[in-house]
């Protein structure tokens, strides 16, 4: 599953147009009910933590710019065995695609950037 494009409204993932923030999981896309990076919390990352087989690396796209997330929350994710990579959304999409192409068990939580559309 690859992320083919992003816009201020959402993403194109494997040919499907997805509106709003989304959680990209192995073989699955879900709507991710967060308004902005401020809503990224222990609770809003629950599914990524609960999955078996375990996710190896979680890429978080925080929007236009990379944002600082709560250190305790990131530490807890690491303790659950999941590496977390926080980036601005355009870079997060590229990182997710790269990890997927390298056959890593990757997941992504992506918030659309507010900027104008750019093809990838």
């Amino acid at each position: 599953m690859f992320i083919e494009g992003y816009s201020s409204r959402g993403f194109t993932i494997s040919g499907d147009l997805v509106v709003g923030p989304c959680a990209v999981l192995p073989r699955t896309i879900l709507q991710w009910n967060v308004g902005s990076y401020r809503d990224i919390s222990h609770e809003s990352l629950s599914l990524f933590r609960l999955l078996e087989p375990q996710i190896e690396i979680l890429v978080l796209g925080t929007g236009d710019r990379v944002e600082r997330l709560h250190p305790a929350m990131l530490k807890h994710m690491r303790e659950s065995g999941i590496a977390v990579e926080v980036q601005d959304t355009p870079n997060a999409c590229a990182t997710f695609n790269f990890l997927t192409s390298e056959k890593r068990v990757a997941a992504a939580g992506l918030i659309p950037p507010r900027g104008t559309y750019k093809g990838m």
Partner: protein, 146 residues
């Protein structure tokens, strides 16, 4: 052959061969072209992030449960540790709750899938299955350049 060359190199350097320094610093285009074809693939099992400490403590025996059956055949995970869910289960429980929230309450889901109620509430709040909409092709209009 390469080690022979290296030995020769070492010999030349120690023996004070005049041309050798130039050859070392010269760009070898053929070698560079060959290097472009090299792709290193790691087949080691992925390294888990270590949580530090605790490594010498005896492990608690993990409790497992059988998963509820999915539709992906061999791709399905058959057993998961208690407190975890497979992807198929996650999709099923989120969809069930979306379609029948009165039947599939957080409490019922927690019991059915051996999850903590707190975790189920987080799942239901933040992860929602998409409603799929098919856009019929004929309604798509190309914007004509003016």
């Amino acid at each position: 052959r390469r080690s022979a060359k290296r030995r020769q190199l070492r010999h030349d350097v120690s023996g004070g061969h005049p041309g050798i320094q130039e050859e070392i610093y010269r760009k070898d285009d053929k070698l560079l072209t060959l290097l472009k074809d090299v792709y290193v693939e790691s087949r080691d099992p992925p390294v888990r992030v270590k949580d530090g400490g605790g490594e010498h403590l005896p492990c608690k025996q993990e409790e497992k449960r059988l998963t509820k059956l999915g539709h992906l055949g061999d791709l399905d995970v058959k057993k998961v540790p208690k407190g975890k869910i497979s992807i198929v289960e996650a999709l099923t429980l989120l969809n069930n709750h979306k379609l029948h929230p009165q039947i599939w309450t957080a409490e019922k889901i927690a019991v059915e899938y051996s999850l903590e109620l707190k975790e189920v509430n987080s799942l239901l709040e933040f992860f929602i299955p998409f409603t799929v909409q098919e856009f019929p092709k004929e309604t798509k209009k190309a914007i004509k350049p003016t």
